[in-house]
């Protein structure tokens, strides 16, 4: 049911359509007081209409902005809908934003009204009130703790809705006026302003239009065959493009039910109770879930544990192929069938994945092991690539064409090209109309012929035709011979090995790629214990010849996978070394968010880098370290360097 009805070019018109076509089907669920409460599409429409009238009576006008601050709660989604019904533009803000960020967004978006979740958000906003001269009124969902607040500029959403309801009941002209408001909404009107999280400087308000959002959501909902019987759990931040797109926009377009968790901490339990059919999780969440399962399995009884590992192994061998519809021997199918009854089914049930038909992950590179694990137990996990400016989707993997290292081909109606510097640029139906009040930045983000610059470097994989994202465009360098050198792509490939903790890849303006890496003391330490390797410190273990052999095997594998891509083949690793100390934020080598600080490391480890490129077999280094109590010391070491064989690129091999 994904094709938008003719004339439904705004979200309000979609809401009216859904109430007409699917009036008795659930539109929204929310767990409250331990019970799942439901609202049908017609109830939602009635509520939103009353809410819109109530807001209008408070003074909300067409074209102005209204802030939405809080967690995923039905009333906040209805606030979005009510604002859109009046032609006002909702501006969702992250619930966990600190007061300062909140003040910036609210001031920049010129909001006069704010719909907020609870006392916490009101307190936060009131603490920065002097920076928000335009803010006049706040409506809130949760009234707890607010009894003694000055209510001259505050009102509970319930009261506003009730007020609107009375006005609608009292005067038929009000209903007619509202119908007219809905009808006069145009597809080109802005539907929402999403502020980027601001990892690259101050946050920018991305303006999206009704029409664009609906077109994009219609395309992807058709792509994944979403319909009114689907269910999604809205547990990701309301202000994030992902939630707004995947749940709100797709939900409106295909009329599926959006469930709101009881609170942020119960999301995992609620997931299990609701059993969504459409699911999104960033790789980190998937990793966390898997770790939790593995830890619990280690505590299980011997028989259960053996059974689990045996069938997970079966899944690794056959699961992926069964999911992709590839030929599998009959014994494999039989074993997988048995495994499904004994292990995968119950496991998916515990994780809340039993009914998931389509699952996506995105946001960062996902390790092949992690990705394949979920796919092998029968979860249709796929990758997509997108950004706020595109209204999320740029590429997505179609069913049956899934690879852990690609993000899929362009979505329907999306046009992608790779610029000369390797940057991915796109044109899409859902792409933003501009940054709010910032034409200069808008111009900066677009090419003269109307493509959006993503800032990410990537290339199309020759075999599959899928896009591969390799790094931020500004971080991508070139070797002396002009070969593309994406440091993060190479580092991530290595970091997917549990034995490797940190990697620094070098190569920009040099003859070849070399890497310096840290081993993971826990993983390698337990390997050492099992293999009778004796060591006293990280430094000793890192320098052990057997450890070097093990890491060399990993590097060789990475080289092989790099060689498989013609574009990446030249960026194979020729030499590597294992650093004598762990990179540490206390020493300024990592940021507090555990990102490698390249510039600083290049300076600090200059003798090692010099040795990597002058052919030496080993190098001496002494570095100052800061202990946890703030004292400083010096570590000196002689670090060995290992040479690697490189694989021929695919063309030469074919010749």
């Amino acid at each position: 049911m994904a094709n938008a009805a003719p004339g439904a070019d705004t979200f309000s018109k979609l809401l009216v359509r859904n109430a007409r076509l699917y009036g008795a089907r659930p539109a929204m669920r929310h767990k409250d007081l331990g019970i799942w409460q439901s609202w049908t599409w017609s109830q939602s429409l009635e509520l939103v209409r009353a809410y819109a009238v109530g807001l209008h009576r408070l003074g909300v006008k067409r074209g102005e902005t209204i802030a939405i601050v809080g967690a995923n709660r039905p009333k906040l989604y209805w606030s979005v809908m009510a604002a859109q019904m009046l032609g006002a533009i909702p501006v969702p803000v992250y619930a966990d934003a600190v007061a300062d960020e909140l003040a910036y967004v609210l001031a920049h978006a010129d909001v006069r009204f704010a719909a907020v979740e609870d006392q916490e958000q009101i307190d936060k906003i009131q603490s920065v009130m002097q920076r928000l001269p335009k803010l006049e009124f706040m409506v809130y969902d949760e009234k707890r703790g607010l009894r003694d607040y000055d209510h001259s500029r505050l009102r509970s959403m319930d009261d506003v809705i009730e007020d609107g309801r009375k006005a609608l009941a009292g005067d038929p002209a009000v209903a007619a006026w509202l119908d007219n408001e809905i009808a006069s909404g145009k597809g080109s009107d802005p539907s929402i302003i999403l502020y980027t999280s601001g990892t690259t400087g101050t946050s920018k308000g991305v303006v999206l239009s009704n029409e664009g959002s609906i077109h994009a959501a219609t395309d992807t909902a058709t792509f994944d065959k979403l319909n009114e019987s689907d269910v999604a759990l809205a547990y990701l931040p309301l202000a994030w493009v992902g939630d707004h797109y995947l749940n709100y926009a797709q939900g409106m377009v295909s009329a599926f039910c959006m469930a709101c968790p009881e609170n942020a901490d119960t999301a995992m339990q609620d997931l299990r109770e609701i059993g969504p059919t459409f699911y999104f999780a960033p790789p980190r969440t998937l990793e966390l879930l898997l770790t939790r399962v593995m830890i619990r399995m280690e505590d299980a009884g011997l028989i259960k544990r053996k059974l689990f590992h045996y069938f997970i192994d079966v899944a690794r061998r056959y699961g992926e192929r069964i999911l992709n519809g590839q030929p599998v021997p009959i014994t494999g199918r039989l074993l997988y069938w048995l495994g499904n009854i004994l292990v995968y089914g119950p496991l998916k049930n515990v994780l809340g994945f039993s009914k998931v038909r389509v699952a996506y992950t995105a946001g960062e590179a996902i390790g092949p092991d992690l990705f394949n694990f979920y796919r092998s137990i029968g979860l249709n996990l796929k990758q997509l690539y997108g950004q706020t400016e595109a209204f999320l989707y740029v590429t997505a993997q179609p069913d049956g064409e899934i690879y852990s290292d690609t993000v899929g081909p362009a979505c329907p109606n999306v046009d992608i090209r790779i610029a000369d510097n390797g940057e991915v640029q796109f044109k899409s139906p859902g792409m933003f109309t501009g940054y709010f009040k910032d034409d200069a930045k808008t111009a900066e983000a677009m090419t003269p012929d109307g493509y959006v610059k993503t800032g990410d470097a990537g290339f199309f994989d020759e075999k599959t035709g899928h896009l591969k994202i390799i790094d931020r465009a500004k971080d991508v360098g070139r070797l002396k011979d002009g070969t593309l050198f994406p440091p993060k792509y190479i580092e991530n490939k290595l970091k997917f090995y549990p034995n490797i903790r940190e990697v620094v890849a070098l190569g920009d303006q040099r003859d070849f790629v070399a890497v310096m890496l840290n081993i993971d003391l826990t993983a390698v330490g337990s390997w050492a214990e099992r293999n009778n390797v004796v060591y006293a410190s990280y430094q000793e273990l890192a320098g052990h010849p057997l450890v070097y052999d093990m890491i060399a095997k990993h590097v060789a594998e990475v080289n092989r996978s790099l060689a498989a891509d013609k574009i990446m083949a030249g960026a194979q690793i020729k030499r590597f070394l294992i650093l004598h100390k762990e990179l540490d934020a206390d020493d300024g080598e990592l940021t507090r968010t555990q990102k490698v600080r390249r510039g600083f490391i290049a300076e600090r480890y200059a003798p090692l880098i010099k040795a990597l490129y002058d052919g030496s077999r080993e190098a001496d280094i002494s570095t100052e370290v800061t202990f946890e109590d703030g004292r400083k010391g010096v570590i000196s070491a002689r670090v060995k360097i290992r040479d690697m064989q490189t694989e021929p690129p695919p063309m030469e091999r074919a010749a």
Binding site: D32, L33, I35, R147, E262, N263, D265, Q269
Partner: protein, 266 residues
Amino acid sequence: MRAPIGPEVSAGDVLLSVEDVSLSFGGVKAVSNVSFDIRKGEIRAIIGPNGAGKTSMLNIINGFYHPQQGHITFRGKTRSKMQPHEAAYGGIARTFQNVALFRGMTALDNIMAGRTLKMHSNFFWQLLRHGPAMHEEVKHRQRVEEIIDFLKIQEIRRVPVGRLPYGLQKRVELGRALAMEPDLLLLDEPMAGMNLEEKEDMSRFVLDVNDHYGTTIALIEHDMGVVMDLSDRVVVLDHGIKIADGTPNEIKGNQAVIDAYLGVAH
């Protein structure tokens, strides 16, 4: 259902008063000649150095200890001896210095246990879990869910409390006390052993309970910052003797209190 002990008391009036109470264990005088009152709707703090007799005082109020001398007036009814279950029926609930929960039971069941006194269907219906018993259970569960929502512990509803961190156990214990819908809530060091964030959360809950349910609260606490921020009036005990009684500001400047806490040169 048993009638509540004594008539209803309106806000601001004295809900409970302790008159000239003394308690000793053998030769040790835990509390001597202490008098003070608790007004309806206030947060009353009882403070004092270690061994000052604070917990003994709470135990006297909720009928666990019987004072050798003096008497207690609760809701206008005076007595010198009261059994703990009478106190519970009368609307006094408490939490303990060391968490006293059913460790193997879930948070939900622990809080449900607080409703026991309000359950009236007979044993056989309860055994069958049918008819009036089921009806009643649904009603009580509703109240318990409101408390769970109030204390924001939805995510641990089904977790055995023994597996919970200490701060959360304290919160469950508060939930169980609230489930009794008490008129007077006695909190024995609700913030002991908590980190700053947990303390701030707990303070917020104590204020919210007072504000939302209108519950009168008597609390023992060591953290002076917490006491000064939360309470309306403070009574200070030292070696079982009341040395001061007044608003937080009055107490702050009181020389006897400063001496008791910091010690004096003799």
